[in-house]
C-alpha cells in the first residue's frame, strides 16, 4: 500500500510539471503582452519596458521558463489587475467557498444517487424503475444553467422558501471572515442563526449541482449493485438465512469502490467546473473568479486559476485512487501488472 501510494504520488510530479510547462507555452503563444496588461492601462512605454524587465520577459525563453517555475514554487502567481491583490491571495480567499459548494453538491448527489440506486437496482418494471431510468438518462442531459434558474423560479419566485439567491448569507459583523466561506465562518464563530442562514443559501446551488452531476454516480451505483447482487457470495448469505439488512451490507460494501471512484471524478471536475452554478448564484468562488479574469483579461489570475484547479483536481483523483486501493487491495495488484 505504502509503495503504491508513493508511486502514485510520484507520478503526479511529471503531470504537474507538464501542466506548468503547457501553461507557460500557452502564455508565449498569446497575442497579448502580459507586461502591457500588468503595467495597467495608463502605463507609458517606459513603464511597460520596466514591467517586462520585472517579469523577465526580456530574457531568453528557456531562462523565462526557469524563472516562471521558480516563482511558482515560491507561491508567487503574480498580481491580479482586477482585484489589485496577489493572485494567490484571491484564490485562497475564494477556494473555501468553492469547496463548500462542490463538497455539499457531491455529498447531496452521492446520497441521492445511492438512495435511488438501492431502491431501483434489480427492478425492470414499475414506477421506481422508470424514475431511476429517467434520472440516469435525463440527469446527464439537463444542463445546470437550466436547472439553476428553474429552482430559483420555483423556490424563490413562485414559492419563496429560500432567501434571495445571491451569495452565501451567514455573514455579518459578528461573524468574522476567517476562511472566506460563510458556512465555515459561521460554524467557527458558533453563531447558530448565521449557520442556518448560510445553509438556506447553500441549499439551491448545491441541489442544482446534485441534480445535474449525480447521474453518472447513480448509473455506476446501479450497475455496481446489480453486478454484486448476482455474485455467489450474496446467494450464500441468503442461503445461510442472513437478514435482508445483512445482505445489503455485503452488497453495498462490495459495490462501494467504483461508486466512490466515480464520485471522486465528479468532485475533481467540479472544483474548477462549478463555474455556471457559481455565476447563477453569485457564489464568490474560484469559478466566478475564472470567468471574471477571462472576460477581464486578467492574465495572471487566469494562469493562477489554471494551476491551482489542475493541481487540486489531480490531488483529489489521487486520494480517490488511494482510498479505492485501500478499500479494494486488488487494485494495487492490477495496476502493478
Amino acid at each position: 500500500m505504502v509503495r503504491y501510494a508513493t508511486v502514485r504520488l510520484i507520478t503526479i510530479v511529471p503531470v504537474t510539471l507538464a501542466l506548468m510547462i503547457l501553461t507557460f507555452i500557452v502564455t508565449q503563444l498569446l497575442p497579448t503582452n502580459p507586461a502591457v496588461v500588468a503595467a495597467g492601462p495608463l502605463a507609458t512605454p517606459e513603464q511597460v519596458a520596466q514591467m517586462e524587465a520585472r517579469l523577465g520577459l526580456d530574457k531568453s525563453i528557456p531562462e523565462q521558463l526557469v524563472a516562471f517555475l521558480g516563482r511558482l514554487f515560491t507561491g508567487d502567481l503574480g498580481q491580479s489587475i482586477g482585484t489589485g491583490n496577489a493572485v494567490i491571495e484571491d484564490l485562497v480567499r475564494r477556494l473555501p467557498s468553492t469547496m463548500v459548494l462542490t463538497t455539499s453538491g457531491v455529498l447531496v448527489g452521492f446520497v441521492l444517487a445511492i438512495g435511488l440506486a438501492v431502491v431501483t437496482a434489480n427492478r425492470e418494471r414499475g414506477v421506481l424503475a422508470s424514475v431511476g431510468k429517467t434520472f440516469g438518462g435525463l440527469g446527464s442531459s439537463v444542463p445546470d444553467f437550466v436547472v439553476g434558474p428553474i429552482l430559483i423560479l420555483l423556490f424563490y419566485v413562485a414559492i419563496p422558501v429560500f432567501p434571495v439567491p445571491i451569495g452565501q448569507g451567514g455573514s455579518g459583523a459578528d461573524v468574522p471572515a476567517v476562511t472566506g466561506a460563510a458556512l465555515l465562518d459561521a460554524v467557527i464563530a458558533g453563531n447558530g442563526g448565521a449557520i442556518v442562514d448560510a445553509l438556506t443559501h447553500l441549499a439551491l446551488p448545491s441541489l442544482t449541482l446534485a441534480l445535474c452531476y449525480a447521474a453518472p454516480i447513480y448509473r455506476v451505483a446501479v450497475s455496481s449493485i446489480e453486478e454484486i447482487s448476482r455474485r455467489r457470495f450474496v446467494d450464500y448469505v441468503i442461503l445461510n438465512g442472513g437478514s435482508n439488512k445483512l445482505r445489503w451490507r455485503y452488497v453495498l460494501e462490495n459495490a462501494f469502490p467504483p461508486i466512490l471512484t466515480m464520485s471522486g471524478l465528479v468532485y475533481g471536475l467540479l472544483i474548477g467546473g462549478a463555474v455556471v452554478v457559481e455565476a447563477i448564484f453569485s457564489w464568490g468562488g474560484i469559478g466566478e473568479y475564472a470567468v471574471e479574469s477571462i472576460t477581464g483579461n486578467d492574465f495572471f489570475a487566469i494562469q493562477g486559476f489554471v494551476m491551482v484547479t489542475a493541481v487540486l483536481s489531480m490531488l483529489i483523483y489521487l486520494s480517490v485512487d488511494l482510498i479505492h486501493a485501500w478499500l479494494d487491495p486488488r487494485t494495487i495488484k492490477r495496476s502493478a501488472s
Binding site: P31, T32, N33, V36, V37, G40, P41, L42, P45, Q47, V48, Q79, S80, I81, G82, T83, G84, N85, D90, R93, R94, I152, Y156, V157, P163, V164, P165, I166, G167, Q168, S171, G172, A173, A177, G180, A182, A279, I280, S282, G284, E288, Y289, V291, E292, T295, G296, N297, D298, F299
Partner: protein, 550 residues
C-alpha cells in the same frame, strides 16, 4: 457590456476614468438645498437606516492609488471612504431623467480645505482643523504632503493626475494647517481634479506610516485592506469577494450632511439576478444593468430609472498615422455621415444622445456652438469629394468582441460610411488584444469603444488628453490651434477668464476631429422608487452620503 460583468477593466483611454475618480458626497450643501433628511421626516414614516446595493463586483483592494483603483467596483468604496480637499456642489437632476442630484461642475465647495488661493505658480490651501480620520488621528498638512509623495513614488495613476491634470511639481507644508502646491503656471484644472479623483485624496499618514515595512515603503498592503481617510463612511464588514458594508461615521467633519444609511453592497455577477433581486425588493439599488434590463425596469412602477448626463460615450478613434484618415476632410466627412438618430433609436432604444463636442455636456466650459456635422449624406459626400481621397478607400474598424452592442453600432456605421466611398471591414477582437494593438502597436486604423470616460469635469481636460504629449494621444493627433488654445486655457485661474480658451479648444477639436463621436450614453442606475437623492459621480460609483430611503 459583457454579460459577465463588471470588474472589466477599462483600458487605455480610460485614463479618464481615472481621472474621474470621485466626488464623494455632498448633498446639496450649496446647490438646491435639498435636505435629505427632510423628505423622510415629512412622510411621517421612520426613514430606513440601512440599504442594500447589488453591484457586479465589490472592492477587493481599497488603496486609493492601486492599479486596480481604475475599477468601478473599487471607486464604489474608495470614494465613500476618502474625502477630497474640495468638492463640487449638487443640483437637482432633470425630472425626465429620473431625478436625483447631478453635479454643479462650475461650483467648487470647500471640503477638507476651507479656502484656497493662487499666486505666482503656487496654490495655497487652508485646511480644516479638527477633522478626524478613521483611526481618530487629526488631519494636517503632513497628510497631504505624504499622499503626494506616495503617489509620486508609486508612479501610478495618482502621479499622472498630479502632474498632467493638476500640474503640481511640489507640495510642502507651510504650517500645520496650510499646504502649498507649486504648479506649472496657473494649472486651473487642479480644483476639478481634486474634486473628482479619488487617487489624490488625503490619506491618514500618521496611521499609514505605522504599517510601512522594508519591502513596502508606502504601506500598499495595509492600505489595500484598511480605510485610512477622512470620508463620510467607514467599513464595518467586508466579506471579500461577496459583500462590503459601509457605516456612516459619527465623527465625519460635515455632520449636517453625513450619511443616513448603512450600505451593504453585494457582488452579483449576473446582471439579470441583480434586476430580479431589485424587482423582488431584496435590494434597493441595482448597478450595471444592460440597456434591455433598464427598459424592462422602466416598465415597473415600483422601480425608478435614474439617468445622469455623464461622460460615457461611444467614440471612434482614428489612427492619424494611417494616410487615408490623416486627411481632415475625410474625418469631417465620416463624422457627418454618422447616422446618430438612427443609432440612438435602433441600438439604444432612444436611450442615448447626440454629441456635439468631444467634451461631455455636463462639464464646465462645454459648448455646442461649433458643431456643424448634422447628419447629411450629401454634405458628407461633398466633403469626401474635396478630400485627398475622392474615390474613397478601404479601412478596418476594430471593437471589443465582448460588447455586443458595439457590433450593432458598427454595422450601421459600415453601411453609412460605405455610401461615401469608405469600405469598412468590421473586426471584433478580444479586448486585451485590442488594447495592446491600439495603444502599443498602433496598427489599428479605426478603433471604437463605448466606455471612454476621459475627463476631469473641466473642458480644458481634452487638452491634457490630446495636446502635444497628451496622455490619451496614442493616435498621433497634432493641431497647432488646439495646442495654442490649451496653453491659453492653462493661463488663467478664474472660470470666466478661461471660458473663451475652452471654447477655442472645442472648436479646434471639432474642426480637426481627433475622435469621431458616435453617441453619448447616460450613466444609468435603477433604484426602488422609495430611494431618494441618488447622486451622480463621474466614475460611475454611487456617493452614499446623500441617499435616503423612505
Amino acid at each position: 457590456m459583457s454579460k459577465v460583468d463588471s470588474r472589466r477593466r477599462r483600458g487605455g483611454l480610460r485614463l479618464a476614468c481615472v481621472a474621474l475618480g470621485l466626488t464623494v458626497m455632498t448633498t446639496a450643501c450649496g446647490g438646491g438645498g435639498t435636505s435629505s433628511t427632510g423628505d423622510a421626516a415629512d412622510s411621517g414614516k421612520p426613514a430606513k437606516t440601512s440599504m442594500s446595493v447589488a453591484a457586479g463586483a465589490i472592492a477587493e483592494n481599497i488603496d486609493p492609488d492601486a492599479p486596480s483603483a481604475v475599477v468601478v467596483a473599487n471607486y464604489q468604496t474608495v470614494k465613500n471612504v476618502y474625502e477630497p480637499l474640495v468638492r463640487f456642489g449638487y443640483q437637482a437632476n432633470d425630472a425626465d431623467l429620473g431625478g436625483g442630484l447631478k453635479l454643479d461642475t462650475q461650483k467648487v465647495e470647500p471640503a477638507l480645505a476651507t479656502s484656497w488661493e493662487y499666486a505666482d505658480n503656487a496654490w495655497t490651501f487652508k485646511l480644516r482643523e479638527g477633522v478626524k480620520s478613521h483611526a481618530g488621528n487629526e488631519f494636517t498638512s503632513a497628510d497631504v504632503v505624504w499622499t503626494y509623495e506616495r503617489s509620486k513614488a508609486l508612479a501610478a495613476t495618482g502621479a499622472l493626475l498630479w502632474t498632467k491634470f493638476m500640474g503640481v511639481s511640489a507640495v510642502e507644508a507651510v504650517d500645520k494647517y496650510t499646504v502649498k502646491f507649486t504648479t506649472d503656471g496657473a494649472s486651473p484644472m487642479l480644483l476639478a481634479t481634486m474634486a473628482v479623483a479619488s487617487y489624490v485624496r488625503p490619506i491618514d499618514s500618521t496611521e499609514a506610516k505605522k504599517h510601512v515595512t522594508a519591502d513596502d515603503k508606502w504601506a500598499a498592503k495595509w492600505l489595500g485592506e484598511n480605510a485610512a481617510g477622512f470620508g463620510a463612511y467607514a467599513i464595518s464588514d467586508w466579506q471579500r469577494p461577496r459583500s462590503i458594508t459601509l457605516q456612516p461615521r459619527p465623527d465625519y467633519w460635515d455632520a449636517a450632511n453625513s450619511g443616513n444609511l448603512a450600505v451593504t453592497t453585494q457582488a452579483v455577477t449576473n446582471p439579470a439576478q441583480r434586476l430580479n433581486a431589485l424587482t423582488k425588493g431584496d435590494v434597493d439599488i441595482a448597478l450595471g444593468l444592460t440597456p434591455q434590463q433598464v427598459t424592462t425596469a422602466s416598465q415597473n412602477d415600483s422601480l425608478t430609472v435614474v439617468k445622469f448626463n455623464a461622460n460615457t460615450r461611444a467614440f471612434v478613434y482614428p489612427n492619424l498615422d494611417d494616410s487615408n484618415i490623416a486627411d481632415v476632410k475625410v474625418r469631417q466627412a465620416m463624422w457627418t455621415a454618422v447616422p446618430t438618430k438612427d443609432i440612438i433609436e435602433r441600438v439604444y432604444n432612444g436611450d442615448a444622445f447626440e454629441l456635439k463636442s468631444p467634451v461631455s455636456p455636463y462639464i464646465a466650459g462645454y459648448t455646442d456652438e461649433f458643431f456643424r456635422y448634422d447628419h447629411s449624406m450629401e454634405k458628407a459626400k461633398a466633403l469626401m469629394a474635396e478630400s485627398s481621397k475622392p474615390n474613397g478607400f478601404k479601412s478596418e474598424l476594430y471593437y471589443s468582441s465582448e460588447e455586443p452592442i458595439l457590433q450593432q453600432v458598427a454595422e450601421i456605421l459600415k453601411s453609412s460610411w460605405a455610401q461615401i466611398g469608405i469600405d469598412i471591414q468590421l473586426k471584433a477582437e478580444p479586448n486585451a488584444q485590442l488594447q495592446t494593438r491600439n495603444f502599443n502597436n498602433h496598427d489599428i486604423p479605426l478603433y471604437m469603444e463605448d466606455l471612454g470616460a476621459t475627463e476631469v469635469p473641466d473642458a480644458c481636460s481634452i487638452g491634457a488628453l490630446w495636446a502635444k504629449g497628451g496622455i490619451a494621444n496614442s493616435n498621433n493627433y497634432h493641431d497647432d490651434t488646439f495646442n495654442k488654445a490649451f496653453e491659453d486655457c492653462l493661463d488663467q485661474v478664474e472660470f470666466a477668464d478661461r471660458e473663451p480658451a475652452m471654447k477655442q479648444l472645442q472648436k479646434a477639436a471639432i474642426d480637426n476631429p481627433m475622435v469621431i463621436p458616435i453617441v453619448g450614453l447616460y450613466s444609468t442606475t435603477v433604484i426602488r422608487s422609495n430611494v431618494q437623492n441618488l447622486a451622480f459621480d463621474p466614475s460611475g460609483a454611487t456617493p452614499y452620503r446623500t441617499v435616503t430611503v423612505k
